[in-house]
């Protein structure tokens, strides 16, 4: 258990490798963010029959650098009524958790033929991830809760009404979807029997049928994808920064490099969320070794799967109109959370049934009957609440 690099006594070689891994992960994440900013604009332009950025460098590839340079040279405005210390702190609260979360993602390694992803750097065995804490998934959930503070405090400290409204929406939205997110992760953890991201990947390494996507029955993945999109405040759940209603939302008062930090954090969170999805449901870097050196294939499969999910997030943005606030809350509390909870109980019942040698068919039929009854009760409760609310509406002629 745990990274074999750290199992023995500590020496300078180990420290060097850890520092190297941290730097590589840092650079990798920044480069992927640079790429994501460019690719999002280019890909969404394709979907909207446009060309997208094409001025800076060949096919506009240097657009992100141009944007970044511009942000650095802009004036850094200090709103007079802002709470200065919190105002400065907020952007960091929003993007540091993304970095830390990326540390637990396995980005490569050899998982084929029953290998456990250990590779050898400078004669020492290690995993290709910065850290493999035994509570990895819990760390991810904790850090995504901290990211809420970034958005919330940014709006609160700006001393302005639109950011405040944006941050109120943000905290409500992120808190409610975090429940669904956590419950769908529970399904994965239940089947893998481990909170360690490395262990979860090892469990899925066999074939496509071993992926948690299949073993948990797709539903937790769909819930995770929807809740994750909401957690990222990406369209169609971007009412935190709904331009038509709230100017820029929580970052209205931010300018220059402080705004760039939020911008960076948003894309960084997108990349990290895609990486987490790949790790939890799609086997992370696990995949067949085709030809050439073994060491590149784990990284190749990881990047390929990551890229697919980055494209899916952009696809969402290009396709779906923004949800209304009440629709957002309805979807979160009345659909996703009950569904995630019910599915978790179903998986738990099946797992328990297997351990106790119960009849599998009977377990499934019983569970579905109970879930059906629960759904009926929920729908009835929602209807009755809605009727009461409608009765309270005073119609003015």
């Amino acid at each position: 258990m745990g990274d074999p690099l750290l199992s023995g006594p500590l020496d300078w070689g180990i420290v060097g490798i850890v520092v190297l891994k941290v730097v590589v992960a840092f650079v990798l994440l920044l480069v992927s963010v640079l790429f994501m900013v460019y690719w999002e604009r280019k890909f969404i332009a394709d979907m909207q029959n446009r060309i997208g950025p094409d001025r800076a460098g060949p096919a506009g590839i240097l657009q992100t650098l141009a944007d970044g340079t511009k942000f650095f040279f802009k004036e850094d405005l200090h709103p007079q009524r802002a709470d200065w210390a919190v105002f400065v702190l907020a952007p960091f609260l929003s993007f540091v958790p993304a970095f830390v979360t990326f540390a637990i993602v396995p980005i490569g390694g050899d998982f084929s033929n029953g290998n456990d992803g250990t590779i050898s750097i400078f004669g020492r065995d290690t995993y290709l991830q910065v850290a493999d804490p035994p509570i990895g998934v819990l760390l991810f959930l904790a850090l995504s809760s901290i990211a809420v503070y970034g958005v919330m405090l940014a709006g609160w400290s700006s001393g302005s009404k639109y950011p405040l409204l944006g941050s109120v929406r943000a905290s409500a939205q992120m808190v409610s979807y975090e429940a669904a997110l956590g419950l769908s992760v529970c399904a994965v953890v239940l089947l893998s029997g481990s909170l360690s991201t490395h262990e979860i990947v090892v469990q899925q390494a066999g074939s496509v049928l071993d992926w948690n996507l299949v073993t948990t029955g797709v539903v937790p993945f769909v819930i995770f994808l929807i809740a994750g999109t909401a957690e990222l405040n990406r369209p169609p759940f971007d009412l935190v920064e709904a331009e038509q209603e709230l100017v820029g939302g929580f970052h209205t008062e931010y300018s220059s490099i402080r705004f760039a930090l939020f911008f960076l954090a948003e894309f960084m969170n997108t990349v990290v969320m895609s990486a987490i999805i790949v790790t939890l449901f799609f086997g992370g870097p696990a995949g067949p070794q085709l030809f050439g050196p073994d060491i590149i294939w784990g990284f190749f499969w990881f990047v390929a799967k990551l890229f697919v999910f980055l494209c899916i997030f952009i696809w969402f943005r290009a396709t779906l109109p923004r949800l209304r606030y009440d629709q957002l809350m309805d979807l979160g509390w009345k659909v996703l959370i009950p569904l995630a909870l019910g599915w978790l109980l179903l998986l738990a019942a099946i797992k328990l049934g297997q351990q106790l040698d119960w009849n599998l068919g009977a377990v499934i039929v019983g569970a579905i009957a109970i879930m059906g009854a629960a759904t009926g009760l929920l729908v009835a409760a929602v209807r009755s609440a809605k009727r009461t609310a409608d009765d309270d509406v005073v119609v003015i002629d």
Binding site: D46, M47, N49, R50, I51, W315, A318
Partner: protein, 218 residues
């Protein structure tokens, strides 16, 4: 397909969708026949200015970008036929919205619009065109000022709107010339529209009275 149909549409456009972008400075979209562009001040065939300094254009202008001051014609060297002429005529192009209401309001067809829209300034003062810059040259064509990017055709048919609809749209005027001659062109032929078989467009057949009232109100 409901919700999922939308995903198919966006994905289809990635691979099979057209690219509608025009690479503007390199390639330019065709300009409309009666695009509202930079104004010109017209002159009669004998070179007299058409503007009489009545300020109706300034009165009707919703952006308040026109400044006109009339003055009595010097008896020995008149600028326009009649009593008065436009002594000062200025248009501020930082305010102008090119709505063409000044053209509709003008009783003597003095102000019309060319199709030029590619012009810019580095200074607020430069954005104010004066009478000297707006007046047509000795051939009756707009002056091609050095900071303007004229394209072929931008300076033609500057009074097309007038010749298509004045005075107008009224069936009894169909096909009848009801406009004055212009320097360099003489009496111009009707523009497309006036004699076209389509139903006459009569939105401005009471234009002059209307605009008089309007001007007085300001």
């Amino acid at each position: 397909m409901g919700y999922l149909g939308g995903f198919a549409i966006t994905l289809r456009n990635v691979f099979f969708g057209p690219r509608v972008t025009t690479q503007y400075p390199k390639e330019k979209a065709p300009i409309a026949m009666r695009r509202h562009g930079r104004h010109v001040l017209n002159r009669y065939e004998d070179g007299m200015e058409k503007c009489i300094g009545c300020e109706l254009c300034a009165g009707v202008c919703p952006a308040r970008c026109i400044y006109v001051r009339g003055a009595d014609n010097p008896p020995d060297d008149p600028v326009s036929p009649g009593e008065r002429y436009g002594f000062v005529y200025e248009i501020n192009y930082l305010r102008c919205i090119h709505c063409d209401l000044c053209v509709e309001a003008c009783p003597t067809e003095a102000i019309t619009e060319s199709k030029l829209f590619e012009f810019s300034f580095t200074d607020r003062q430069d954005a104010i065109y004066t009478r000297d810059e707006l007046l047509v040259d000795d051939d009756g064509r707009p002056q091609l000022l050095p900071w303007e990017d004229w394209r072929p055709g931008d300076d033609e048919h500057t009074s097309a709107w007038m010749r298509a609809t004045a005075p107008s749209g009224d069936a009894s005027y169909e096909g009848r010339v009801a406009w004055s001659g212009e320097l360099g062109y003489g009496l111009r032929a009707p523009e497309l529209g006036q004699t076209a078989p389509a139903p006459a467009d009569d939105h401005d057949d009471h234009g002059h009275d209307d605009h008089d009232d309007h001007g007085g109100g300001h």
